[in-house]
């Protein structure tokens, strides 16, 4: 197989497709982190979305309804997350880890009750599944987040909550309220990312189907220096790596097979290199993780 085959139109399309869940999750993570809350529960929120999207999408026989419910459940979970991180002032990283664990345990628990199995949910019929819609939604989401943060007053509030909360305070705006709203949106949008896995890229929920995408999305936020458009580009890059990895399975390049694992670890390796400042300093919001 020639290397040029990878740069074909169909490769670009598949790269775009597989990057959709990442785009949603990364914009979600960005909203949370810009408001000053470290977000490592993206993986959990995505799982919530993937599962609830598949369950309700199947139940109502509509992918769009599934999408809607994914948003609702994701944001409900993030309200719980806000309760612990903002109200109780628990450590954001500890609570994030706990949420990832909790959701990884709750889904098989509920799935066993609903379907008497901890495996996959029933498949959506072909004609109900999304064909391309989440691709459009995700791009719209990036545009919204970009203009929201740079043009809207509430977007400035989010930025100030992460950079100079005391300024926001002196303007008479509650930092906590701004964070509640950002986290509410974060949970919902990240869940849309999960739901596009189960309603768009496949037709049902299968166990742990996010496969670390929540963490890759977080890497994309860092690679994109906490800015919406560069973060989107980073998602496309990671999407392309993912698509490449699928195509490379079993393919010989220069006489030997490239192990899938080497390509799988690339986004993570890249993130560490970025964080080490080898491509110039990327600066996190000043108040990130502080209470």
């Amino acid at each position: 197989m020639e290397l040029t085959n990878f740069l074909s139109f169909s490769f670009l399309i598949s790269a775009l497709r597989v990057s959709v869940p990442l785009v949603f999750a990364a914009q979600a993570g960005l909203l949370s982190e810009r408001s000053g809350v470290v977000q490592i529960a993206l993986e959990g929120f995505m799982l919530v979305g993937a599962f609830s999207g598949a369950v309700f999408g199947f139940h109502f026989n509509s992918a769009l309804v599934g999408f809607l419910f994914a948003f609702l459940f994701g944001s409900a979970f993030s309200l719980l997350f806000s309760l612990f991180t903002i109200k109780f002032k628990s450590d954001q990283i500890v609570i994030g880890t706990a949420f990832n664990l909790l959701i990884a345990g709750l889904i098989p628990f509920i799935s066993k009750y609903l379907y008497n199995s901890t495996g996959s949910t029933p498949s959506l019929p072909m004609e109900v599944r999304f064909i391309f819609e989440p691709l459009i939604f995700s791009v719209v989401m990036v545009i919204l987040v970009h203009f929201g943060l740079t043009r809207w007053r509430s977007g400035y509030w989010i930025q100030f909550a992460g950079e100079h909360p005391e300024t926001l305070l002196s303007a008479g705006v509650s930092v906590d309220k701004v964070r509640w709203v950002s986290l509410f949106l974060c949970g919902g949008i990240a869940s849309l990312g999960g739901a596009s896995l189960s309603l768009f890229l496949s037709s049902n929920y299968s166990p742990l189907m996010t496969g670390g995408r929540g963490f890759i999305a977080l890497s994309a936020v860092i690679l994109g220096k906490w800015k919406p458009v560069p973060t989107y580009l980073a998602c496309l890059l990671f999407g392309a790596l993912d698509a490449l990895q699928i195509r490379l399975q079993g393919v010989e390049v220069l006489g030997s097979k490239i192990p899938v694992q080497w390509i799988q670890i690339l986004p993570y390796l890249l993130t560490i290199i970025i964080l080490a400042g080898l491509f110039g300093k990327s600066r996190a919001p000043t108040f990130l993780g502080k209470k």
Partner: protein, 344 residues
């Protein structure tokens, strides 16, 4: 323990969840207790998990004490385990007393190396250690799966597991702990884990270095003024975190299975966070909280057979709820048992 109330709140909430699916919470709790302490085999398995959790709990907690967050114990323990298997595979003929020493050094140095990287990056490049350790977990998962599947797979098995290391590397002929728990994986590393906890306790209380490490973690500006290099302390804390995490890998490879089985760790690194949190980073408390978490983990494994609607995944809910419960208790403590300082 300070956080016992949080533990109880979390446990109760998790058990109440079972009402939703129509189980009796007392019955479920009974199964968990019976399945973790019911027989000497069950207890042995509980102690085996306890051993691994003491190590990862110590690993998370020493980073905490140094002002850092190590969520990379998972990667550190799996790289250490992989390192030992590769070493034993490459040098199968080292004579006996030296073989133990060699493999012990290999395991702990791989753990230290994997742990020290985020410490160095944090100290010299100000990279956030949480993200770096998280990314290194995924890199470790990729590397181990590559070696286990493509380089050193077990020829006798279809499962994703490595070759079995030679008997000259395994501690079982000297293992007197295992004699008490026939056929169970409990092994002599339990004693090493407890010893490590006591050593760390001694390190904090009686050595200058231990004091400096805690001081740097508490307030690195003040400690810099006092002449303590906070960079050095960060690196030291992460190196020791890696060292402790490697004990968890040794427990599996040298103490029990003699090979790297993919998924041998049910995320010990992450449960270690709960263990450290529950004990409030007290090394001796970690022994107890690791035992609690270990028994809940073992106890949940029988829920598959004993109930109709609950599976072993329930242990994740238990662990998460306990972490949340402890978080809630810290909030209660702050709100009711401390003077308001006007920051809220």
């Amino acid at each position: 323990m300070k956080s016992s109330l949080g533990f109880l709140i979390g446990l109760t909430c998790a058990l109440l969840l079972t009402l939703i699916v129509g189980e009796n919470p007392f019955h479920v709790f009974g199964i968990i207790i019976k399945s973790s302490f019911g027989s000497s085999y069950d207890l042995g398995l509980t102690l085996f998990y306890t051993t691994s959790l003491i190590f990862t709990g110590l690993s998370v907690s020493i980073a905490f004490k140094g002002g850092l967050f190590n969520i990379g114990a998972e990667g550190q323990l799996s790289m250490a385990a992989l390192g030992m298997v590769i070493f034993a595979n490459t040098f199968p003929h080292i004579p006996e007393p030296f073989s133990y020493l060699c493999i012990f050094i290999v395991g702990s140095s791989v753990g230290i190396l994997w742990g020290i990287v985020p410490g160095l990056l944090k100290a010299f490049r100000e990279s956030h250690e949480v993200i770096v350790t998280m990314m290194m977990n995924f890199i470790a998962a990729g590397i181990t799966s590559y070696f286990i599947v493509n380089v050193i797979p077990n020829p006798q098995s279809q499962n994703p597991e490595s070759i079995v290391i030679g008997n000259s590397y395994r501690f079982n002929q000297y293992d007197f702990v295992n004699k008490f728990f026939p056929d169970s994986p409990a092994n002599v590393f339990l004693l090493l884990a407890i010893l490590s906890a006591f050593t760390l306790h001694f390190f904090y209380k009686k050595t200058a270095l231990g004091y400096e490490l805690q001081m740097a973690g508490e307030n690195n500006l003040a400690s810099e003024r006092a002449g303590i290099s906070s960079k050095k302390m960060m690196i030291l804390a992460m190196a020791m975190a890696g060292l402790f995490a490697s004990g968890s890998g040794m427990n599996e490879v040298l103490g029990f299975s003699g090979q790297y089985k993919m998924g041998f760790s049910p995320e010990f690194g992450f449960i270690g966070i709960a263990v450290a949190l529950m004990s409030n980073n007290n090394p001796l408390g970690i022994i107890l909280s690791a035992f609690l978490m270990g028994s809940l983990h073992k106890g949940s494994s029988d829920l598959d057979f004993e109930t109709n609607t609950i599976t072993r995944d329930f242990s994740k809910i238990l662990q998460a709820m306990i972490i949340l419960g402890v978080g809630f208790q810290y909030f209660l403590n702050k709100k009711f048992f401390r003077r308001h300082d006007g920051t809220n």
